[in-house]
Amino acid sequence: MGITQGILSSAFEAAENAGAERITEIRISVGEMTEVVEFALQFAFESLTPGTMAEGATLTVTQIPARSHCNSCGADYGHDRFQMVCPVCESLDVNLLQGRELRIDSIEAQDADEVAAAADGPAAEE
């Protein structure tokens, strides 16, 4: 819920700065090593958006797989969230390269004219 509030407040701010009236899509990236569950995000999103400028918007989640770098043998490797040890030399001296992302990438927004056009003829909407 806190995460979804973070997504919405960033999206609202970006949309308002751009002079938009309505948000139709929000795109985020979520690393595999975070505790964020897409199902819970979507549920919170559906609960929090009604009555806001993002009512009816789609939340698109891109999962970022976990990758690490081994400081002993220099290997870069992908892994699941439970196993960070280097698969090449079994070193424990490793750094996570990606997988802890919690990032809002972009939004699709409409200005006042587009909102009015969409209201006049929903069929014309993309």
Binding site: S10, T34, E35, V36, F82, L102, R103, I107
Partner: protein, 226 residues
């Protein structure tokens, strides 16, 4: 008008405030620890044992995070240590604005260590940076050795893992070797401290690790070693 590029962290506001908190802690040479565990793992007992080990050497304060009540802050205050209670009113974790307000109520210039007792939860606190220098988690023996499989995130974000209530090991079917090996694969660099907080057992190693970290932050702020 189509696509608007945003490209920023989802928890942007929290992280900016946390960075402000951190700058304040660094300038004052105060090491801040975010202590996380499930309810009943012994966070408050570990804090009291840590205070007993380090209070002669360092100025210590505690920020207590709970959904409700001020029971924990009262326990700490009873030992003559400044404590601020944060009630999250239902929220399952602390956020950096709560820490900012709590720190305003503490005598930062007299302190070397602030221990933040996060809300009892093995999931949500992992994603929220508060401005702390280190997150550390406690698992207690009765919770079982399989917890790293179920809650990998908290074991990975923690710089050290405390295994509490080791005096109850004979009663519970806790597989120490398996626990060590899973924690190691999740977080190769983290030391595991075995303690029994209410008995004062094993506190020395943990307190020494903490003292080293405190000294680093003190030195960076130009304070003399203690």
């Amino acid at each position: 008008m189509a696509t608007i590029d945003v490209s920023k962290p989802i928890l942007d506001r929290n992280e900016k405030l946390a960075a402000e908190n951190r700058a304040r802690f660094d300038a004052s040479g105060v090491f801040v620890l975010d202590l996380m565990a499930s309810p009943g793992a012994g966070k408050t007992s570990t804090i009291l044992a840590t205070i007993a080990a380090l209070r002669d050497r360092y100025g210590i304060a505690v920020i207590e995070g709970d959904i409700a009540s001020k029971v924990d802050a009262e326990k700490v205050k009873a030992h003559g240590i400044p404590a601020v209670q944060i009630n999250t009113g239902g929220a399952c974790h602390l956020e950096s604005d709560m820490i900012k307000r709590a720190v305003d109520a503490l005598p930062l210039d007299e302190l070397d260590l602030i221990i933040v007792e996060n809300v009892g939860n093995l999931v949500c606190p992992t994603e929220f940076y508060l401005g702390e220098h280190a997150k550390v988690m406690i698992l207690s023996v009765p919770e079982g050795h399989d917890k790293p499989y179920k809650y990998p995130g908290i074991f990975q974000i923690s710089e050290a893992v405390i295994l509490n209530k080791v005096d109850t090991m004979p009663v519970f079917d806790f597989d120490e070797a398996e626990f060590d090996s899973v924690v190691r694969s999740l977080n190769p660099a983290a030391p595991i401290f075995r303690i029994a907080a209410t008995k004062g057992q094993g506190i020395d190693g943990w307190a020494e690790w903490l003292a080293q970290r405190i000294e680093q932050v003190r030195a960076a702020a130009g304070k003399e070693p203690r």
